[in-house]
């Protein structure tokens, strides 16, 4: 029972580089989410997806791109990383009608 996994767990990159954070879930949950967590702001929604090929913006989508070609994967790409994108990123998933989001362990990203 692998659940929801994120990779890498830690990433250091430089300003201007492209970075992709991976999220994989084994439950066939249709809903998937990306959050960033910053001190004082809690969890803020970046993008979410209701199903394969269906994505929508959350509260803070600027500078991020997502795709979802398969139900189980929901990668998050920073096309040109900036220092303000230094954060901890969490992926989560949920079933329609279910009232629980299941979170991955997170990716700590540092942009130098």
């Amino acid at each position: 029972d692998a659940g929801i996994t994120q990779s890498p767990r830690y990433k250091i990159t430089e300003t201007g580089r492209q970075v992709t954070l991976m999220c994989h879930q084994t439950w066939s949950h249709s809903y998937m989410f990306w959050y960033r967590q910053d001190l004082g702001h809690g969890l803020r929604l970046i993008y979410y997806s209701a199903a394969a090929d269906i994505t929508d913006k959350g509260e803070v989508p600027d500078g991020y791109v997502v795709s979802r070609s398969k139900t189980e994967n929901f990668p998050l790409t920073l096309e040109s990383a900036t220092r303000s994108q230094t954060s901890v990123y969490f992926c989560a998933s949920s079933l329609p009608g279910q009232n629980i989001q299941y979170f991955g362990a997170g990716t700590r990203l540092s942009v130098l």
Binding site: G42, L43, L45, P96, Q98, N99, I100, Q101, F103, A105
Partner: protein, 112 residues
């Protein structure tokens, strides 16, 4: 719009009680409570629906005040394991976790 949590942080001794509040300027339909231990992923605690009853989970319970547009989380006889950051998330009437807006969190520290 992010719900407002108070207090931002609380320190207490084992066996003491604590209350964490979650307020919204918009109408509240469902409130989802999560706990995140240091360095770990957020984990679902409970959900309260508008018109629903007060919920309980071991010695942790919560209430929903529709008139005040507020939910409160009650931790009684705190244990060391209760330490962590507590987040409330506001959601739709159905209680679905389809799209939640989280507060900035309350850091709870329980000392021996």
């Amino acid at each position: 719009q992010q719900p407002v949590q108070s207090p931002q942080a609380v320190i207490l001794r084992e066996g003491e009680d604590a209350v964490i509040n979650c307020s919204s300027s918009k109408a509240l339909y469902s409130v989802h409570w999560y706990r995140q231990k240091h360095g770990e992923a957020p984990v679902f605690l409970m959900i309260l629906l508008k018109g629903g009853e007060q919920k309980g989970h071991d010695k942790i319970s919560a209430s929903f005040n529709e008139k005040k547009q507020q939910s409160s989380l009650y931790l009684t006889a705190s244990q060391l394991s209760y330490s962590g950051t507590y987040f409330c998330g506001t959601g739709p009437f159905s209680g679905s976790a389809r799209q939640l807006t989280f507060g900035s969190g309350t850091q709870l520290t329980v000392l021996p």
